[in-house]
């Protein structure tokens, strides 16, 4: 590129960052030219978020420097980064739905109202949203809302814009609009860092791609020299030798406990099929948003409006509510513990027996629960699950660590007498020791005759835990990997590129 002769827009020199017990970034060095679009890719935990947080002034690196123009800069808060010309567009849509698009763009910008508004109009024009400035943000589609967020960033006249997964929640047809906006930004000399899991978009759109793996830059290449296949390998961290064994659907001699056919949860999931046998742990892999959660939630009865059939042995199930799903014998442990599972004001014992208290009542038909009976029953199960400290059943659930909270939820699933266990992101936000523990408990569930379905966006978790893994891509199952074939690298690669080497051949 010709611009390389001029001074870089941004330069990062040997940036290193530690968290307790983790080296998040090691010796990161790169530079960005003005008006360049650079893709930043890497798997979950590779260090993308840490790097963007440092650039956006959310956190400070332990060592290393960031240069803008000629001099080094150091940010201690996001507003300083913004003043220095670095704007970040977060992944989550964060508009005020009831306010107009214009008010959303100008939100929090100081200066004379008339000037701000006219600048906002100009920015909106470059992004092609000038004719909807008066509309409420909540009435706009996802792609327009994304453009509004970009407009909000551009209003600060940044020289560098960090776009975190701008297309993750968008339908492919909407992606184009966002890209045209980015292209327009580039023409005006703004440098764009594009963070994405969608490799095709990165390759077709960025001039250069920086690949992070385990906190290091493993590649910094012109995108024209890269193929999707090779990029997938760089991210996954393994040279593939072309043997990509498609596993046969496992032990066909046993009758499946659960048979799912043609499952669809519009618009996220389509054509999902599954046979689940007693005694096995099956994983559902994929990128965040590839539809794994929806599949499990569907089995849990939380998507009443799904299509397709779910049969338990020979009986067709009607999963129209969580209650119906529980009755059918399906236990569900959701993802995002803080929002979806933990009710902070309840005790551990009450959490474990919340919808299944019959055993602990004064009398089966008198709905008064005896705290002592309930606590001792829960303590028995918890001690089997190896919760330390012991005898916590009377404490509030919110006082427990994340790992122990998760074990209490496992206890709830076990005490419900379910035969099928659907577990969504089982070790999200728990420490390493608890993670090992939870994996052991899940294996025990299966060993005791349960059929376990685990969804996770962490390939190594599934590789370690599961008998076989179904990989989903954009809402469809694309491959099933069994036993030895279900390696971390293969799961990662299939999740990223949505097909296998064999298919290509």
């Amino acid at each position: 590129m010709t611009e390389t002769a001029t001074a870089p827009a941004l330069e990062v020199r040997s940036v290193t960052q530690y968290y307790p017990g983790v080296q998040a970034l090691t010796d990161i060095t790169f530079s960005l030219a003005p008006g360049e679009i650079v893709g930043l890719v890497g798997h979950n935990g590779a260090g993308k978020s840490t790097l963007t947080r440092i650039l956006a002034g959310v956190e400070k690196p332990v060592s290393g420097q960031v240069f803008i123009g000629a001099g080094p800069v150091e940010f201690s808060r996001p507003s300083e980064a913004l003043d220095a010309g670095i704007a970040m567009v977060p992944q989550q849509l964060n508009l005020v739905p009831l306010m107009s698009v214009e008010d959303n763009i100008t939100l929090g910008v100081k200066g004379r109202r008339r000037d701000v508004v006219s600048r906002a109009a100009k920015v909106a024009e470059t992004l092609g949203i000038v004719n909807i400035l008066g509309r409420r943000a909540g009435e706009c589609g996802a792609s327009v809302q994304r453009l509004v967020m970009i407009a909000r960033a551009l209003l600060r006249s940044p020289s560098l814009v960090l776009l975190d997964e701008p297309t993750a929640a968008l339908h492919p047809s909407e992606v184009d609009r966002v890209f045209r906006a980015i292209e327009r930004m580039r023409e005006e000399g703004v440098t764009v860092v594009f963070i994405s899991h969608r490799l095709e978009e990165v390759l077709s759109f960025c001039t250069r791609v920086i690949v992070l793996r385990q906190g290091r830059i493993v590649a910094d290449r012109e995108s024209t020299t890269l193929g999707k296949e090779e990029l997938g390998e760089l991210i996954a961290g393994r040279k593939l030798d072309g043997v990509y064994r498609k596993a046969s659907s496992s032990d066909s001699h046993a009758e499946p406990v659960l048979t799912v056919t043609g499952l669809a949860v519009p618009p996220t999931v389509s054509d999902f099929a599954l046979q689940l046998h007693a005694g096995e742990v099956v994983g559902v892999a994929g990128l965040v948003g590839a539809g794994m959660s929806e599949v499990l939630e569907c089995l849990a009865g939380l998507h009443p409006r799904h299509e397709g059939t779910v049969k338990m042995e020979d009986k067709k199930l009607s999963l129209r509510s969580r209650q119906a799903s529980i009755k059918a014998g399906i236990a569900y442990i959701p993802d995002d513990r803080a929002h979806n599972s933990i009710i902070g004001n309840l005790t551990v014992a009450t959490t474990a027996t919340l919808v299944n208290d019959r055993e602990h009542r004064l009398h089966r038909n008198i709905p008064i629960v005896l705290a002592k009976r309930e606590q001792s029953a829960v303590d028995v199960v918890l001690s089997k699950l190896d919760i330390r400290p012991k005898l916590v059943a009377g404490n509030r659930i919110s006082t427990l660590s994340g790992g122990n909270q998760q074990k209490v939820l496992i206890a709830r699933a076990l005490m419900s007498g379910a035969r099928i266990f659907a577990i969504n992101e089982p070790t999200e936000g728990v420490d390493v020791a608890a993670k090992r523990d939870i994996h052991a408990r899940i294996r025990e569930m299966a060993a005791a005759g349960g059929a376990v379905l685990v969804a996770s966006s962490e390939p190594d978790e599934l590789a370690e835990l599961c008998d076989r893994v179904i990989v989903m891509y954009e809402g469809k199952p694309i491959i099933e990997l069994a036993g030895e074939a279900a390696t971390k690298e293969d799961i990662t690669k299939a999740s990223l590129i949505g097909r296998t080497t064999q298919d290509e051949a």
């Binding site: 307790p20 929002h339 009710i343 902070g344 004001n345 309840l346 919808v355 629960v369």
Partner: protein
């Protein structure tokens, strides 16, 4: 929540300040201080409210004539009984995370309907009880269905239903005032007492005991607290959250109806909008209660203490011959003080 945050922060800052010993100890002592403050806040909640109650009694004993007499305490118990019954119903509603602002309307309708049925229409007591109870149940069910099953905001639904019920009182009574003609035994019961304890207070205590058992020990109460604590998690856990809301609105309306019925028997007169006005004091009592016993959670014993504080305050002021309209100021002020206090002692960000 804040203790968790502190725990998480210590190792992080210790890591960043490696070899920087004084800073490190600073952080941990700051964390310990935070925890101390936290404990002190909880303690303030646990003992603060009872202390206020005791102080009120002491102050009024000194400055209000005839406050510290058996007769006056009977009056207080009798005056507190009906507001307590209403506030207990509201406690269950709030525990499930919902509001019931239709209470005044429900009480008023129950009062005038009771009077109309017993006096001009000359029904016997048990018939009146049945009809009024069914009406109360239906009103509660209406609130519950609209909020639980249709997902409408309780705030608006219950204000609207309350307004309709206020209008209904004119229809029921034909805009007439009703006085006298109540069955003697009903009046005798509502005004009488067993030994030194007013009958109404006995009913209130019985209601409180049942409500406590329901909220703290029963399956429904566990579900109520779960829905109030985290409705999303409660639904995913398999609780029928709509049904739980239906239940709490029915209980709330039933208890308001009971209070309205007993109020009619006690007053022996009724006319439109003549019911008990206990909406604000009930909310105040519940929020005072949420600041004690189980800090941050609405609970029945706490609500009773809250009702006692409100009733004793108004009783003392009346004894001191303070003009009646000042009760408005005190009602509002007590409610504000209660939610402010609950906020200060609660570790949670918000109660509702």
């Amino acid at each position: 929540m804040s203790t968790e945050m502190t725990d998480a922060r210590i190792p992080a800052s210790a890591q960043a300040n490696q070899g920087d010993a004084p800073k490190k100890s600073n952080t941990s002592s700051a964390a310990a201080g935070l925890e101390r403050r936290e404990r002190r806040r909880r303690l303030l909640g646990q003992i603060g409210v009872p202390v206020v109650l005791v102080l009120l009694v002491i102050v009024f004993s000194v400055i209000a004539p005839n406050f510290l007499t058996l007769a006056n305490f009977k009056t207080i118990a009798s005056d507190a009984a009906l507001p307590a019954i209403v506030a207990i119903g509201l406690t269950l509603c709030l525990a499930a995370g919902e509001f019931d602002l239709s209470l005044n309307g429900v009480i008023g309708l129950a009062t005038v309907a009771t009077a109309q049925l017993l006096s001009p229409m000359n029904l016997i007591t048990i018939e009146a009880i049945l009809i009024v109870a069914v009406a109360g149940l239906l009103i509660g069910a209406l609130n519950g269905v609209l909020v639980g099953y249709f997902g409408l905001p309780a705030l608006i639904v219950t204000i609207a239903v309350g307004a309709i019920l206020n209008g209904g009182q004119y229809v029921v009574t034909n805009s007439q005032q009703i006085y006298g003609g109540f069955p003697d035994d009903l009046v005798a019961f509502c005004r009488g007492s067993m030994g030194p304890v007013p009958n109404l207070a006995i009913i209130a205590v019985a209601v409180a005991a049942l409500a406590w058992l329901t909220l703290e020990r029963s399956t429904l109460g566990r579900h109520v607290r779960a829905v109030g604590g985290n409705p999303v998690a409660a639904r995913i856990a398999g609780i029928n959250t709509a049904r739980v809301k239906l239940w709490v609105f029915m209980i709330s309306a039933m208890l308001a109806t009971l209070a309205g019925f007993l109020f009619a028997g006690k007053q022996t007169t009724a006319y439109p909008l003549s019911g008990l006005d206990v909406l604000l004091p009930s909310f105040a009592a519940c929020f005072i209660g949420a600041a004690m016993f189980k800090v941050g959670e609405f609970n029945v014993p706490g609500t009773l203490v809250g009702v006692a504080i409100a009733t004793i305050t108004s009783n003392g002021l009346i004894l001191m011959s303070v003009p009646a309209y000042t009760s408005f100021f005190f009602q509002g002020a007590i409610l504000l003080a209660a939610i402010l206090f609950a906020r200060v002692v609660s570790t949670k960000k918000s109660l509702t």
